[in-house]
Symmetry: C2
Subunit: 143 residues, 2 copies
Amino acid sequence: MKKEKEIFNQFLSRKNLRATPQRDLVLDVFLTREDHITAEQLYDVVKKNDPSIGQATIYRFLKLMLDAGLAREVDFGDGVMRYEGSYNHPHHDHLICRGCGKTIEVVDSVIEELQRRVAESFGFELTDHEMYLYGLCEVCRKK
Amino acid sequence: MKKEKEIFNQFLSRKNLRATPQRDLVLDVFLTREDHITAEQLYDVVKKNDPSIGQATIYRFLKLMLDAGLAREVDFGDGVMRYEGSYNHPHHDHLICRGCGKTIEVVDSVIEELQRRVAESFGFELTDHEMYLYGLCEVCRKK
DNA sequence: TTGTTAATGATAATCATTATCATCACATGA
DNA sequence: TCATGTGATGATAATGATTATCATTAACAA
């Protein structure tokens, strides 16, 4: 069994929540995805395996994943929240092409350190941050 | 007359749009604000001066301001868009307290340069970015 | 097996924002 | 001055993602 499933089940029992076939299925589908996914996209794929599932179950599942620390929200500012697995997938930021929407995960430890320092210089203790770099990828630039 | 009003009126005539008392009033109110403001907050203040104004006019006005380059959108991820004046108010990022919601404008030229480099290293030409630093301010940390 | 209570699916509600549309009022030309 | 074309307005409906509600179903511990 995948480690994430183990953690998720531990999380459920710790919170006195129940393991259900729906949660199992949605988690399976979620784990097949490499990158971020919207609730709707997840719903569409899950429906192929079980057309009787409701989308409320998807949204509830995603909340649980956040709570369990197994997923993160990604907000590209287009009005739809995306979710990405966070197990064995450390923090990173996103580089997004304004042309084709392609996204690349990036991380720069110097930037991270500077962010902490900037926060500290204002008396803040940094808890987290969001950084989205928008630009044009090589392909889109040539058009 | 404030420079922003001059620019806004030039923008209107260039686009064959009309100067109206409503736009005048909303712009006046908008310019009194130092920091960012939501459409609803702007609407509430404007209503005190002219209760007959509709909120659609507020939203339309904000779109025009973006178009004219006189305002920027700020998205703190709480489902409400905020707007800040951009005339004589260069780019900056935001440091937000998770405790009390206080925001501080920050800018770090080294981070900006590194962002450009990160993008370039993936073949991207950086057009813009969003960076939100979340933490706890000095006051909230003591609680 | 049963009883408790969480989970589900359908659907209504929410909330910010956008679209629609009838009416109004600028600005230009006669 | 007045007519006219068209942009602007305000009221309201629509949208779209997400959340709440609720009757019914199903885990799971005893």
